[in-house]
Symmetry: none
Subunit: 415 residues, 2 copies
Amino acid sequence: MFSAEIIAIGSELLTPTKTDTNSLWLTGKLNEIGIEVKLKTVVGDDETRLEETIKDALRRSDIVIATGGLGPTEDDITRKVSARAVNRELVFREDVLREVAKRFEQIKREMPEINRRQAFVIEGAEVLPNPNGSAAGMSVETDGKFFIILPGPPRENKPMFENFILPKLRERAGEIFVKRRILRVAGMGESAVDELIAPIYLQYENPQTTILFNRSEIEINLTAQDKSEKQADELLEEVATKIAAALGSGVFAINGETMEEVVGNLLLQTGKTLSLAESCTGGLIAERLTEISGSSGYFIEGVVAYANQAKIRTLNVPAELIEKYGAVSKEVAEAMATGMRERSGTDYAVSITGIAGPNGGTAEKPVGLVFIGLSDGTETKSIKINLPGDRYLIRWRASQAALDFLRRTILKKQN
Amino acid sequence: MFSAEIIAIGSELLTPTKTDTNSLWLTGKLNEIGIEVKLKTVVGDDETRLEETIKDALRRSDIVIATGGLGPTEDDITRKVSARAVNRELVFREDVLREVAKRFEQIKREMPEINRRQAFVIEGAEVLPNPNGSAAGMSVETDGKFFIILPGPPRENKPMFENFILPKLRERAGEIFVKRRILRVAGMGESAVDELIAPIYLQYENPQTTILFNRSEIEINLTAQDKSEKQADELLEEVATKIAAALGSGVFAINGETMEEVVGNLLLQTGKTLSLAESCTGGLIAERLTEISGSSGYFIEGVVAYANQAKIRTLNVPAELIEKYGAVSKEVAEAMATGMRERSGTDYAVSITGIAGPNGGTAEKPVGLVFIGLSDGTETKSIKINLPGDRYLIRWRASQAALDFLRRTILKKQN
């Protein structure tokens, strides 16, 4: 399997606001033909560091792709430094100059003198035409390695890479197909998941398994490669099935779906409707559900009952209940769910009340304490959880726990 | 001036979908104290490449910051490889283990055996406590260079960097103060803003001005540097004041505040309360407002009236109005606002109804058509807007426009 490195060149990519996105697209294209990106570098117009970066990359990896720094100005150092890194001269090419000049004719502007610089190319390089800009790309073979230099703007480097580089790499890489699959787990920690599934994934070198922790869930990434797409898919299916079985109902997605998609699909499949009564999450659960196009098929109504008066007036929570147990309590959570279901007439109503912090916590009811209620017309039940994190995370995790509670309830009814 | 390099560690950062964002925030913080980032690397769980990267960085630059790969699993190689790169041993620290164990107690989970790995630290390193996770950070001084190792999640590495690293670096970096200020503009395009303010900012080399377009607003970034913090602040104040005057009420933030903060502050200052009736934004406006701690001081209640029945039943919108004009109409938007204000008794009620897409648009009422209503007890008014973008962007921009409508209304009443 070929290894690749990507070098993004440009001082603007070393500021706090700009990020290199070319490498994401290039990585996708390389992965598809079974080439793995092993390292990415961002370097500015610093000649020493750039030269060292190119040399190191060509020593370590089979394919090196550099993007950017091919403009006509003084700080565009890619041509000069790349030539030095591969120990070759820059040569002036009359035919490349004609292409640059043609480009200026097209946009009806006179070619400034400094654009002559763009007609210098590395000795022996294949020149890659650029129909969308004045900077030509280059492809150099050196000591069995491929060194590819592309302009920075995506609309210039994408067609160049697809038309001139990809076919060549595909030919060399041979018939390898790489496929990815993501499983998602709720309500378990990273290490607990790892303990359960390590005995499975350690048996396989292919697919490769990576475990990540997100805001409120564990993500299991599987990457398989094989000579056909079908075989790669079969490998993924085999391991995904085993992992899902080991984790049981903790797995909520076996194909990269989000929690709101999974819950939405379950509601659609079972033909059920939902309403929400939110306090501490302030509309976040409704917002997540309605981010999905088509959610009007099952989501009917939500109430953000932030003030106690709103809980009493719109959700019919008895004032005495709030007085006796407090707004953050099992009793109020359940009354909110019942009241919401009665108002909306939906099959399910989910409620949530808690302390998102940073203020408002007490010894008895600390920040992170959350009650989730669920009413389905037959019964109203609730769970109590304690969530770690700051306000943002507590709200996010509370929304995830509420959706997961609903998911598990629907699944139980199906069985 | 000190030079820095940032190394992001994690195979997931070499996939087509994930990008390293930690380095942007770190760059901002380093720039503020006059430290320039000269190179960034992303490397996976490849021991050879990672070791080489760390060694190269420490040879070239004064400060090297590595993020990620400090988890408890087999593929978290940062501890091991970093120790090797600086030629030191990993040592087991009982006190660090106690912190890891404490973390699990807090979240009421049993500590799995593999988390013991997180108690190994590089010999002679300063250990950086992590109140938000189980991975401790490390700071190592080697041959006059600073090598800092931080966990990957922003919520863990940000406080660690700000509390333990930044003060130390600031002391070494000496007396250069770089300060930033962000102004935010709603309801104007990038070129319109530039035309109005270019005559101002072109007069100044310091502060530097950058204009960026975000999801729904123009951001004007000012960066000033001077020998004292006070002088840098004065420079910023001078230019910010001139720019704000040129843009008038279009500027909603002169100090980086978000729209929800600005609106929340206006409500607090004027002692007014708010309720919301959302359709197409599905709870997003309520979610944004309640993300702010203390929002219960002005936000009372929200209704996500997604189905027409919810608009009729909970907001008292006459069914005939929906039938005659459609749910996405000026008439229904205004009835929603009036109904919501009557239900909640708040000073203001804001409503929103629109077509977020991708489906549901017609020639007459295309995707992106949004009506925003506002009732203040004396009158109910509305605006109609057409928003470009996908479902996500339309919803976001609609929420921003609704908050901006409220902001302008409150400001007008003040004058």
